[in-house]
């Protein structure tokens, strides 16, 4: 379990400690005639864990890509601590927003340690000449980077595998390594895109603890997830995205109780509400499904089962 606490050296940015780390205003993304994200506003405050849920194809990942500069939003702005971000991924990361990917994108043929060291890229500045001349400053920077990387590996419980190739890690640890790599850039906001996809219940719980620990050391977290139990356990606030638009935003209870959300996930009930007979039928089917799921979830979860 993560125990080390490390205050990230957040870059000097304007604003007080309460300045929101993320302010997305009217973010719209159109691909030709298709509007994938429409006028979404979202604010994340420091020390907050915000969840982003929605049915498949609701535009959650597209919204993430707009936030991190992988897509240039058609309309709207994204700001980090009140500074508007240019739509370039490396500048977004430099500003202080780091992310993980829905389908794991590690540098598979680099070691675990090297992966995290790549994450340190924006927080170190030794260029090619420094590398060629190898002055004392270069050595100091390398040592410091390695120290911080090992600290993060210890934080995520991967320090004993530092010299292994990333591709050889089991699935759950690859997900953790992605988080460690993202944390290496000392972000003020961490975006997690389905961090528990393909995980078994134990691994999911470990991830929950990890996300809490990340928040506790001062990094706000915005997380996309389909696992409702995970989201409602974890998040201070949940936003629901349906067909590219933000439907509701609020605490877990508000969102869970909202009929529009239920409708978005399950569809609207018939005009004449289901009778007792149908309700009993559905409950029986659910119990059956629960039993089957419990059976499969305890089994081995490997990378090949990834979605």
């Amino acid at each position: 379990m993560p125990t080390t606490h490390h205050a990230p050296a957040t870059p000097a940015t304007p604003g007080t400690p309460d300045t929101p780390v993320l302010t997305a205003t009217g973010v719209t993304m159109r691909f030709g005639g298709l509007t994938a994200v429409h006028a979404v506003d979202l604010t994340v405050h420091p020390n907050e864990i915000v969840g982003l849920i929605g049915p498949n194809g609701a535009g959650k990942t597209t919204f993430f890509n707009c936030l991190t500069g992988l897509y240039r939003p058609t309309e709207g702005t994204v700001a980090y601590r009140n500074t508007v971000l240019p739509p370039k991924p490396h500048l977004v990361t430099r500003a202080g927003i780091a992310r993980t990917f829905q389908n794991i994108r590690l540098f598979a043929n680099m070691t675990v340690l090297e992966n995290v060291l790549v994450g340190r890229h924006t927080r170190t500045h030794e260029g090619l000449f420094a590398a060629l001349l190898r002055g004392p400053r270069f050595h100091r920077a390398e040592t410091e980077s390695t120290r911080r990387a090992m600290e993060l590996l210890a934080f995520t419980g991967l320090d004993r595998k530092a010299e292994q190739l990333a591709r050889n890690l089991p699935y759950g640890e690859q997900r953790k390594l992605e988080i460690a790599r993202a944390l290496a850039s000392d972000p003020g906001l961490l975006l997690l895109d389905e961090p528990t996809a393909g995980m078994n219940p134990q691994e999911t719980r470990t991830t929950e603890t990890l996300v809490h620990a990340i928040r506790d050391q001062g990094t706000a977290v915005l997380v996309i997830e389909h696992d409702m139990r995970f989201i409602f356990n974890l998040c201070d606030r949940v936003a629901v995205l349906v067909q590219g638009e933000k439907l509701v935003e609020g605490t877990s209870e508000t969102v869970q109780a909202d009929e529009r959300v239920i409708a978005a996930y399950l569809g609207t009930p018939f005009d004449d509400a289901p009778g007792q007979e149908e309700i009993a039928e559905v409950e029986a089917a659910e119990a059956q499904a629960d039993a089957t799921r419990a059976g499969t979830e305890t089994g081995e979860t490997g990378p090949e089962e990834e979605r």
Partner: protein, 624 residues
């Protein structure tokens, strides 16, 4: 002495860690590949050993006989009493086979030769001896017109080497079981049998813990290894005729494979990693000594060209191996450096009519290449993959055609068009004339030896730049871009800028080599800088050298370039079929060893998924 399996087969060498694991499960399983330790031919073990030893001994003896009646075949194989020419190779092979056979049976004083105790080494050496000998005999028959030209000595050698190989096939080797191959027709079965015989069951057989040597002895071992490598290289470059070179390549190839399965390479790698500074010094010294071993300039010129070719290949390795940018027009940067140096060299044909001192010419050449690299890179590096390859190919050709057209008629008069810039004067550095022979402290340094030593300094510089850049923040960013560019940019890496940096660095290094090349060849013409051609430094061969040797390593492109230069230079008879043979060789290499001759550890793991998953990039326990 009589055990069937001299060493236990360890099912998973790296996973178990302890090299002396006594679990002799036989056959044992690693994933889908079941490994057994059995002979290929069912001979009684004692008979097999005896046959191998006797065969090797008799082969050695047969080299003292006359193999042919006329000296028309080069190397004079007619003398009974001492071996000559290709016979020496057979002798070496036979003696090595014998030594390895004795080493696998714990003969005192020889055990260091075969630390793993694998019979594969003996088998491979016996096969190498057979290949070299039979190649010699076939070459004699082909060249002189018939088997009648073989003397009895030749027939005896053919028979004894076959005897040794037959015996060696009766020795138990670690190999896959027949059941680990999918069933197929008779041809497939035959191919599988060959594959089972040739390919060792394990990539790394467990090594026993080495005896601790004092530091001076370890250093001595490293020095001896480099001395041996120097001798080998000198011999290879100095081979006077194509047949001898082919025989040399055959034997060296088999011997290299044998040394790998005997574990001696692993041992050496461990030592060199432990004494890095000494290894680098030894490598430098043995390379610097080479021209001093030569009495004529003929082979020194070959060596200079090899150095130029390898240095440019190493520069290309920054672009291709580290940053993963496929550049098919890289030779243009060599051309820019060479043309720049030629223009400022004070050559009578130069349109500039200036004469820069060499250091200034060096810097100008590198700077011109750098600028050219950035000018080409800035628009093209926005493309990825195949598109980038096509565009760089186009730019390479644009350079050649432009230089060919700047002759005063089709364009401004700068480069003399297709005639190029001849009469580039020899270098003078601090009053030291490169064009004359120097005698220093009893050592004769010929003109090409001067250039060789200068080029060696540039090679060392490029090696230094490569290794330092690789192990840094910048190098890691390049590898990250190669692995996954989207993820790399999400980690804060400015992809375009770093790719441009790699491109520019690669161009600068090629430009450096180009400035020296201009003075070595004393003429630069556009046709030296084509995409593909029979003379090595061209874009296709440069890329091939990187891929053949091993991407992302330092030794790989050096070895690849040396082979790709020497083979066409030595085998004149191959001239018409050179590109065909080259293409076939590349296809075979990609099929059987996609990571190149000398793979980086990273790539070895990348391409061979069946290697143990717990292998790390650090020193594995078995090696330590």
């Amino acid at each position: 002495m009589t055990t069937m399996t001299p060493h236990p087969t360890n099912p998973d060498p790296a996973a178990s860690g302890t090299p002396t694991d006594p679990s002799a499960t036989n056959p044992s399983a690693t994933g889908n590949n079941r490994i057994e330790t059995t002979p290929v031919l069912p001979l009684p073990p004692r008979a097999a050993r005896l046959l191998t030893g006797l065969g090797a001994l008799l082969s050695a003896a047969a080299t003292f006989l006359s193999w042919t009646w006329t000296t028309a075949f080069p190397g004079n194989l007619t003398v009974t009493g001492y071996p000559g020419g290709l016979q020496l190779l057979t002798l070496t092979g036979a003696l090595l086979t014998l030594a390895h056979l004795l080493a696998t049976h714990h003969t005192p004083g020889l055990r260091w030769l075969n630390p793993t105790g694998s019979h594969h080494a003996t088998l491979l050496l016996a096969a190498g001896t057979l290949a070299t000998t039979w190649y010699t005999l076939i070459a004699i028959a082909a060249q002189l017109g018939g088997l009648a030209n073989l003397e009895p000595g030749g027939w005896i050698a053919a028979l004894t080497t076959l005897l040794a190989l037959t015996g060696a096939l009766g020795l138990p080797i670690d190999r896959r079981t027949a059941g680990s191959y999918p069933p197929g027709n008779r041809l497939a079965t035959a191919l599988h049998t060959i594959d089972r015989t040739v390919r060792p069951g394990h990539t790394t057989r467990p090594l026993p813990t080495p005896r601790a040597l004092p530091a001076w002895a370890e250093i001595l071992v490293i020095a001896a290894a480099f001395g041996l490598a120097l001798c080998l290289a000198t011999y290879g470059i100095g081979t006077a005729y194509g047949e001898l070179f082919t025989g040399f390549l055959l034997l060296t190839g088999f011997a290299a494979l044998a040394l790998r399965s005997s574990g001696i390479i692993t041992r050496l790698t461990t030592l060199t990693r432990k004494h890095r500074t000494i290894t680098i010094t030894a490598a430098f010294v043995s390379a610097a000594v080479f021209p001093l071993t030569q009495s004529t300039d003929q082979y020194t010129l070959i060596a200079v060209n090899i150095l130029i070719f390898s240095t440019v290949a190493l520069g290309l390795n920054v672009v291709v191996g580290l940053a993963g940018l496929l550049d098919l027009g890289y030779v243009a940067f060599l051309g820019v450096g060479a043309y720049t140096a030629a223009l400022v060299s004070g050559s009578t044909a130069s349109t500039l009519g200036v004469r820069f001192p060499f250091w200034a010419a060096l810097l100008t050449g590198a700077a011109a290449s750098l600028v050219f690299g950035i000018v080409i890179g800035a628009p093209t590096l926005r493309l990825r993959g195949d598109y980038l390859a096509i565009v760089t190919l186009g730019f390479g050709e644009i350079f050649r055609l432009t230089v060919g057209n700047l002759n005063g008629e089709l364009g401004p008069s700068v480069t003399n068009g297709p005639n190029g810039i001849p009469n580039i004067p020899d270098l003078i550095l601090f009053g030291y004339r490169f064009g004359t022979t120097h005698h220093l402290a009893g050592i004769t340094i010929s003109p090409f030896a001067n250039y060789y030593l200068l080029m060696l300094l540039i090679t060392v510089l490029v090696v230094l730049v490569f290794s330092r850049a690789e192990n840094s923040r910048i190098g890691r960013a390049w590898i990250a871009i190669r692995e996954d560019e989207t993820a790399a940019t999400a980690m804060g890496i400015n992809g375009f800028r770093l790719k441009l940096l790699a491109f520019a660095l690669g161009a600068t290094l090629a430009g450096l080599a180009g400035t020296v090349q201009a003075h070595v060849t004393s003429t630069v013409v556009p046709e030296q800088y084509v995409f593909a051609g029979p003379v090595p430094p061209n874009s296709a061969f440069l890329l091939a050298a990187v891929i053949l040797g091993g991407m992302g390593t330092i030794r790989g492109p050096l070895v690849g370039a040396a082979l790709l230069y020497l083979i066409p230079a030595k085998l004149q008879f191959l001239h018409d079929y050179q590109l065909l043979a080259f293409g076939a060789a590349l296809i075979l290499l990609m099929r059987f060893r996609p990571e190149g001759l000398i793979p980086s550890r990273r790539q070895q793991l990348e391409f061979h998924e069946d290697s143990p998953p717990t292998t790390t990039l650090g020193i594995t326990k078995a090696e330590a």
